[in-house]
Structure formats: C-alpha cells, structure tokens
Symmetry: C2
Subunit: 316 residues, 2 copies
C-alpha cells in the first residue's frame, strides 16, 4: 500500500508517493513560501492531492525541522517556518480526508535509513545529520525514540563544552557549534587566517568573497591540506560526541547524513579515531560501526511516508 511523504525544508518543499518498500513512485518539488504558514499549508495540501490522484493511498506524513509533540499533531517550534504551538495536523485534516501524521525532519530521514538505507540490517541506530546544523534520530529495538514530549533525538544540542560557543537554541557549547557545516566553515576560516596549509583556503576565500560549503567541499575532494584538516577537526568533535552517545544509547551503528557526509571516509576516519580515544571502558564491549547515509536526498520524504503508513496501519 502506498503512502505520501512531504518534507518542508527552509527553501523547498519536497513530496513523493512512496511504496511500502521505500521506492519513490512519483515526486514533486515546490519553493517554500517562507514565513507564510497559511501558504505552506496550501502547498502541502495541493501536493498531497496531486500525488494521490488515481492511487489508493493509506496515509500522508509531513516532516519539518522543529519540535513536534508526542501525539505527532502540534509543532511546538519550527525555526525555518516561524511556527510556535501550531496545530498543524488539525489544519491539514480540516481540508483533506486522509490519515496524516507530522514528524521532525531528522527523525523522518533517520527512519528511512533504518528501514531502507544504511541501517536496514540494524535494530539500534543513532544518526547524525550534518547539514548547516546538526540533526539527530535514534532507533532503539526497532522503534523510533520519540521521548516523553516528542523531542528526543535533538542530538545537535548535546553539550560538548561547558560555557562553550553560544548556540541558536539559547544554550552554549552544543555539538552543533563544533560539528555542523557552519562549524566547518568557521574552522576552515581560522585555518585560512593562519596561513601555511590554509593558503589555498585563503586564496579561494579572497576570490569568492567568503568561504562557502561548495568551496570547502571542493577543496576537500581535491585533497587540499587545509580543508581536509578542518574536516578532521570537525570529525574529532563528532567522535567525542559519539563516545558520550554510546554511553547513553549504545547503538550498533552510527549513521552520518547531510551534506558534509558526502566526504565519506575523510569524515568517518577522524570520527572513529576520536570515538575510540574517548570511549568509556574501551575494550570491554563491542565497537559500533560508522557509516554514511545512503538515501541522502530522498530520506525525508521516504521516512515521512513510511512512518505515516505504519502509524495508519497500526491504528487501523
């Protein structure tokens, strides 16, 4: 039975009709009418109506960045779309006759990796999505860990440095400030300032006016020493965070998604090194695997569709 997944991002809204084996049958894409919640709802409704034409659809799942309540109906807080305590599911249900659930976007992406991607053979997975920020998703004993209020898996806000760098969440020292794409640009900028291995980074920065993810990614792929060093610094912080997460969650494997994860082993090797150096009671329990995500672009819609399908069939 097919279901529909919608992923509301900061710049675009993606939608797909998805089979129960995680295959995308049809997909759609629209720009996000940022800052206009009513227009976002219009786009979502329109996408669902277009995707369900001529097909028997069991449910639709909608994913967005932010805190979703445990009942999967209310958005407590969605920074990208300026929502606060928005009864999103009810707004959608008023206009469409279909079982609808909402989910955090990192949870949806993590669920897709667990069901159909890098973690499909595991029962206990921890995923970190390294994009502009750091998102997270936890699967334990084959279930998505949602927490008592629906906000579990906000792994970007694990604190790694007391009184550390200020974070957008209002706290300080969150791993998001040391392990995200934005942190990578900051570290690359510091290396550029220092000269030496940073000379190429500095030259590209001067040419473009500012370092971007595209520039640093290209230099990493070219093997530039300064850019690779920045990525190693990032990986070391992420590995230290994973050591703490192992003490709490003890996953079989860690999955890394998001734009930075395309660096592959250049990212995974320093993560693994730092993890082993900081692991409590190293040697007394098996080591988890560290892998990159497989469904990078489609994970959000595939996971949202699958979670909605499971929710609808369990309830029915």
């Amino acid at each position: 039975m097919h279901s529909i997944g919608i992923d509301i991002g900061g710049t675009k809204i993606a939608g797909a009709l998805v089979s129960d084996e995680g295959e995308i049958i049809t997909d759609l894409r629209e720009p996000t009418p940022a800052g206009d919640p009513a227009a976002i709802i219009d786009v979502v409704i329109d996408m669902i109506e277009r995707l369900r034409v001529g097909t028997d659809v069991v449910a639709a799942g909608v994913a967005a960045a932010g805190f979703i309540d445990a009942a999967q109906s209310t958005v407590y807080y969605a920074p990208n779309i300026n929502w606060r305590h928005e009864p999103f599911r009810d707004r959608l249900r008023e206009r469409i006759d279909l079982d609808i659930t909402i989910d955090n976007d990192a949870n949806a992406a993590g669920w897709a990796e667990f069901r159909f991607g890098a973690a499909r053979d595991a029962r206990d997975m921890t995923m970190l999505t390294i994009g502009t920020g750091v998102g997270g998703a936890i699967v334990t004993g084959d279930r998505l860990l949602r927490g008592g209020f629906g906000a579990a898996g906000e792994l970007g806000h694990l604190r790694v440095v007391p009184d550390g760098l200020p974070c957008g969440c209002g706290a300080r020292g969150c791993i998001e400030q040391y392990g995200s794409g934005r942190a990578l640009l900051r570290m690359a900028g510091e290396i550029a300032d220092a000269g030496g291995i940073g000379l190429q980074l500095a030259a590209e920065r001067d040419r473009a006016g500012a370092l971007t993810g595209e520039i640093v990614g290209r230099l990493i792929a070219d093997g530039d020493a300064g850019a690779v060093h920045a990525l190693r610094q990032l990986g070391h912080w992420l590995g230290q965070a994973c050591a703490s997460l192992s003490a709490v969650l003890d996953p079989e494997l860690f999955v890394f998604g998001g734009g930075v994860s395309v660096a592959g082993d250049l990212l995974l090797d320093p993560i693994r090194d730092a993890y082993l150096a900081h692991l409590p009671a190293r040697g007394y329990h098996p080591e988890p695997r560290f892998v990159v995500a497989q469904l990078v672009n489609d994970a959000g819609v595939v996971g949202a569709a699958d979670l909605a399908r499971l929710h609808a069939t369990a309830a029915g």
Copy 2:
C-alpha cells in the same frame, strides 16, 4: 506468579521472592565473597534454591554492576567482582532448572522505579543513581533501553568536561567525576580547605580523620552551610548533564536514586535550576519533573525479579 530477584553488590548479595505486583514476600542477605566468582555463583544458587522452596517460581533475575551483553547472558565487565567475559547465565543454568536472566544493577533498579515506584505513571523515564559512582537507566515508550550491545544507560559516563578529571572507565570528564557520592566528598573537602562556610566540615574531618558520606550526609541534614553548598555544586553538575540528556532522550521525568538522593529537595532544587539554565530551546517544550526514587533499598531485587518474569512470560 512470583519470581526471584538477586542483586550482587560490592559488599553484599541480596535476594528476594517478589510478587508480580512488586511486593517482597521473603528476602535474604549474604556477604559478597568478593574476588571469588565461583563462590559468588554458589551463593546465588543457594539463595535461589532457598527462596523457591514451596513456591511456584516462574524465573530468576540476577543484577550486577557492569556491562551485560544484549542477550542478557554474558558479563563483559564487572568491576566489583573481577569478571571479564563471564558466561554467567550458562554457569547458573548448568546447576539450576529455572529461566534465568542477568541485568545491569542500575537497569534493574530503574525498572523497579518505572514499574512500582517514582515513575509508575510515566512512559519515558531517565534515572540517575547517585551512589559512590553514577549509574543510569532509561525507559522509553514503556521499554527498558538496552542498546545494541546491552550497555545503554551508562549515564555516569556522559562526558561533561573535555579533558576533565580522569575517570575509572579510562576516559576523562565523565559526569561520574562531578555528580557522584565520591565527587561530593571531594567538593566537601575543597570547601573544608577553604575555611569560612567550610569550618564545620573541617572540624568533623579533623575529628574523624577523613570526610565520609555519613559525616557529609549528617551535616547536610543539619543544614550546615558548607555541606549544603557542596551538595548544590553536585546538583548543578547533574542538572547540566540532564539538559544534555533531555536533548537526547526527552524524558517525562528524571528520577534520582542512590544514597545521595535521600537529601531530597536539597539535591533536586539545584538540579532543576541548572537544568533550566542550560536547557536547549527552553520554553518551547514542556518541562520534565525531577523526583527522588521510592524503592531505594529494594529496587535492585524487585527490578531484577520483574524483568526476569517479563522475559520468561514473553518467551513462553
């Protein structure tokens, strides 16, 4: 249907026949033959045989400090009893005809609080046991979180300070070094050295030769400013750790057990203050409750018995 719980501590082994409502019918206690695994097995077998006389017992659960594998059969590492990769369940089953499971002692205690104690109305609980060290247990969606290798919930080894105080686990900066009973004695000793509000602590230390948990606990109960200040420092570290744990696990409530938790609100108030000061995205999701454990002395045997009963009845 009754089941049996055994809790192997560093100094004593406790055993009990427990009803399916968590009531202790009979209990036993023996000194731990420390450092002699064969003698420990003899004591455990003898206790089970004595507790099952004349009763229909469905299973026995044995709890011990250390890493237990995901199949609940092998002790990877048990610091108190000098075990490494010990096939403990098989050793017991060779000698007794009964369904037997083994569990980490903090998990057993946490499960007892979840089923019959401070968290009996919750579905998502995080428990920290503040004894000599810091133990942990996580229940999420009504299930004990064991992790991929059985070692989840080792919350004492969440890192709170990079390159911080060395920990017995081989890593540095673990919350166990800032939030345990041992840390409380260290903080109380520092306050005693500083004079001022530490004068009473210093006087008691000089009289007894060293500060002990009993002395510091008594001074806390008496309202001594120095001892209460040490407890507040401890609570602030624990509250900061809980802020990170909320980002990961998002529990409805945090339960604090172990000897230090008898301080009640004197411990909970600074924990709550520090939690709120360090919580990511404070104000955008509901606040968890902070409570002390209710089954302090019996939690290990009651939880081990209940976990064994559930395991046996689910498998049968």
